[in-house]
């Protein structure tokens, strides 16, 4: 029988004892539509090749044909798990290009919302990472707090996932009246819930054996590969955009940057868990310091950043998220180029995964916390 659908794949050449296994795009643990082609010797990965672009929507090209105020909704749909961070990146870049001063209340609100978004993003990461390793219960438990955060988002933004209230020059509206008490109530229960997850995982011998020493990457390698965010900090490199190049009101807030030492999957897990605690600290401080006043600066009706080039980056839950804006002084950008955190982090997969087992590849992809919407754009 002829088999027209079986293609050869020239990039992967196999030895006699090796097989080629295709993971993705429709695979339970490639977090979206990533495709990983694995070359296996038994169960050991000898080579791998990432194939992406299944979610490509041509976002950067679309930006070139949109007016500046029309662009934010596209950003929400890039990293849809951390839509607030993405929106923040865009409005800040344009504000930086236009030299706008943002009212303090808007700055604090932005930080609170971004950190809440970091919590929800990390919770989703914890859920899926645990699920990849087989801890099904942690998966469903994590959704409790995420649901609480999404409820706050729903009340604030009117949307749960693609939430957006940031405007160039501030916020489009102020917080709803019960916002402060709702966030505080959530922050009160949060540490206890985190402890529950750590009870389920930190002392669990199977969890430890699945994560400790798996997917190690040294600090030097991590810098060479351009890793940012928790994967970089788990390797012991102290770099966080919030500390290195403070934006908004981060300079006024006290928080620590958790660091790992060995750079394995377990360290990336620990770093993110600690980051959630630090985010909670930031949110509580920001809520206490939340000043009164307007939330919107005086902005021209038609937004025209002066001609020139500008780069700005924020610390998204996934890593350093950068945006390069080329403006010619008109109402539309000439070029908006992302520095996607997940895309850069994903390229370390090969370094981490070759020589380990199939199950480790799943654990490592989980620990990198990738979102294909941002990788493919």
């Amino acid at each position: 029988m002829s088999r027209p659908f079986i293609q050869s794949r020239p990039e992967i050449e196999t030895e006699a004892s090796e097989t080629v296994l295709n993971m993705g795009p429709q695979h339970p643990s490639t977090h979206g539509v990533l495709r990983v082609v694995l070359k296996l010797d038994g169960e050991i990965v000898t080579d791998l090749d990432c194939d992406m672009g299944y979610l490509h929507r041509g976002a950067e090209k679309i930006f070139e044909n949109r007016l500046y105020p029309m662009i934010p909704p596209y950003f929400d749909r890039l990293d849809y798990i951390a839509a607030v961070s993405n929106g923040l990146l865009y409005v800040e870049t344009v504000e930086k290009a236009m030299n706008l001063e943002i009212p303090p209340r808007a700055q604090y609100l932005r930080v609170i919302l971004t950190e809440l978004n970091r919590l929800s993003s990390h919770l989703l990461w914890l859920a899926t990472h645990a699920l990849d390793i087989g801890a099904f219960t942690v998966f469903l438990w994590s959704f409790r707090e995420r649901e609480e955060i999404l409820k706050i988002f729903e009340d604030f933004f009117g949307a749960r996932l693609t939430c957006h209230a940031f405007r160039i020059g501030g916020m489009s509206y102020d917080a709803y009246p019960e916002f402060k008490s709702a966030v505080m109530a959530l922050m009160d229960i949060f540490p206890k819930r985190l402890e529950e997850y750590e009870t389920m995982l930190n002392e669990n011998r199977i969890w430890l054996s699945r994560t400790v020493g798996v997917g190690i990457i040294s600090g030097a390698d991590a810098i060479d590969l351009g890793l940012t965010g928790p994967p970089l900090r788990a390797s012991g490199v102290d770099f966080d955009v919030r500390k290195a190049h403070p934006y908004e009101c981060y300079a006024d807030l006290k928080f620590d940057i958790p660091l790992g030492d060995s750079g394995d999957t377990f360290d990336r897990y620990l770093v993110r868990m600690e980051e959630m605690r630090q985010s909670r600290r930031i949110i509580i401080q920001a809520l206490e310091k939340l000043p009164d006043g307007p939330v919107m600066a005086k902005v021209a009706k038609v937004i025209k950043p002066p001609a020139g080039e500008i780069y700005h980056s924020v610390e998204s839950p996934k890593g350093e998220l950068g945006l390069f804006l080329v403006s010619d002084g008109t109402t539309k950008p000439v070029r908006l180029r992302m520095r996607p955190a997940c895309f850069v982090n994903l390229q370390s997969l090969k370094k981490m995964a070759v020589g380990s087992l199939v199950a480790d590849v799943v654990a490592i992809i989980g620990s990198l916390d990738i979102v294909l919407g941002e990788i493919d754009r």
Binding site: F5, Q7, S8, I12, S17, P25, T30, I44, L357
Partner: protein, 137 residues
């Protein structure tokens, strides 16, 4: 019918105290039922469901892309190693069953004998371990 015939040939003892082979008759009966059940279920399914075959639907699942090679390929020799080791150990355990059942009659002889027997097994096990046959990676 064959069963009944076979039964009538067995020693006719009082109920409950039937011969050693008669105990297997219900096993055969349940085996027949157990075979009939999936066959009936498959047949019932075939009668009621509709079948729409499209070429795309029949492609083996490989995460949504066309399969990149045939699955009936070579696979790692380690699986065979496990099979070989299993055979060795499984035959050994078969010898342990009768030994265990009459152990109280064997006494010290039984203990010494099985220590020698297991000693040989352990030497082989140690050899396999040192050779790396038990290592998966």
């Amino acid at each position: 019918m064959l069963i009944c015939t076979a039964l009538s040939l067995l020693p006719k003892e009082t109920s409950g105290e039937y011969g050693p082979i008669a105990g297997y008759v219900p096993v055969v009966l349940l085996l027949l039922i157990a075979i009939a059940f999936p066959v009936a279920a498959l047949a019932a399914g075939r009668l009621v469901r509709r079948k729409v075959e499209t070429p795309e639907k029949q492609i083996p699942y490989e995460c949504g892309v066309d399969p990149i090679s045939d699955s009936k390929d070579r696979f790692s020799v380690r699986y065979y190693m496990i099979a070989m080791l299993f055979l060795v150990f499984d035959v050994e355990t078969i010898f342990l069953f009768p030994w265990a059942v009459i152990y109280d009659k064997l006494g010290v002889f039984g203990l010494v004998e099985i220590l020698i027997f297991l000693g040989i097994l352990v030497v082989g096990y140690y050899y396999a371990w040192r050779k790396g046959a038990l290592n998966w990676v």
